[in-house]
Symmetry: C2
Subunit: 119 residues, 2 copies
């Protein structure tokens, strides 16, 4: 119940509610993981890559061509997406094909669009 005093007294009135809210919040680690996940979505290049993969499995070269970006830049970003378990890849000869590894992404993006398109 004893919150750190940060030099104001207004919260004394709400001490009880603050205490309850704190107890209901997800674990520190969960909140961190959640932020990390959204951080991955927080880049135009990665969003574009994911949108491309919504439509079809594609190779690195296809994606680079589609987005008009360097193979290296795309490769670096695909690595980030892979680490976040958002995409998976398979090799076919020299070519590496990437595709989505999660069904929730589209849904999360759709919800994001709802917010953006709100008046």
């Amino acid at each position: 119940m004893t919150e750190e005093n940060i030099g104001c007294s207004c919260n004394l009135v709400h001490e009880e509610i603050v205490y309850m809210v704190k107890k209901e919040m997800p674990a520190e680690e969960t909140l961190y993981d959640l932020a990390e996940l959204f951080k991955v979505f927080g880049d135009t290049t990665r969003v574009k890559i994911l949108y491309a993969l919504f439509a079809a499995e594609m190779c690195v070269c296809d994606i680079a061509s589609l987005l008009g970006m360097t193979q290296s830049a795309i490769s670096h970003q695909l690595r980030v997406l892979k680490q976040a378990r958002l995409v998976k890849n398979r090799r076919d000869g020299k070519v590496m094909y990437y595709s989505l590894d999660d069904e929730h992404i589209k849904h999360i993006f759709d919800q994001g669009l709802l917010h953006i398109n709100e008046k």
Copy 2:
């Protein structure tokens, strides 16, 4: 149909599909806005603030106390959340109360948790 050549030839096979995917992708501006929105979610402090506000309207001081952070740090982040139209505020005397300004946030977070909790 003429994509920029980036020095590989593998995509020549997929030119047609790449062309179609490109046509189906949301507008550049939409993709940018979407990334900007997720960028806001991509910080632990802001995620925590939003989770706190899921439970109750709170003043700046309450949030700072709850998270064990500086009033200034919280204030700066609330500004970011406000600019993204994720929270709104009302003044009651000297105290400024913040609350959620969007119904989708909780849903987006829940979807994010689904991804995190996937094996």
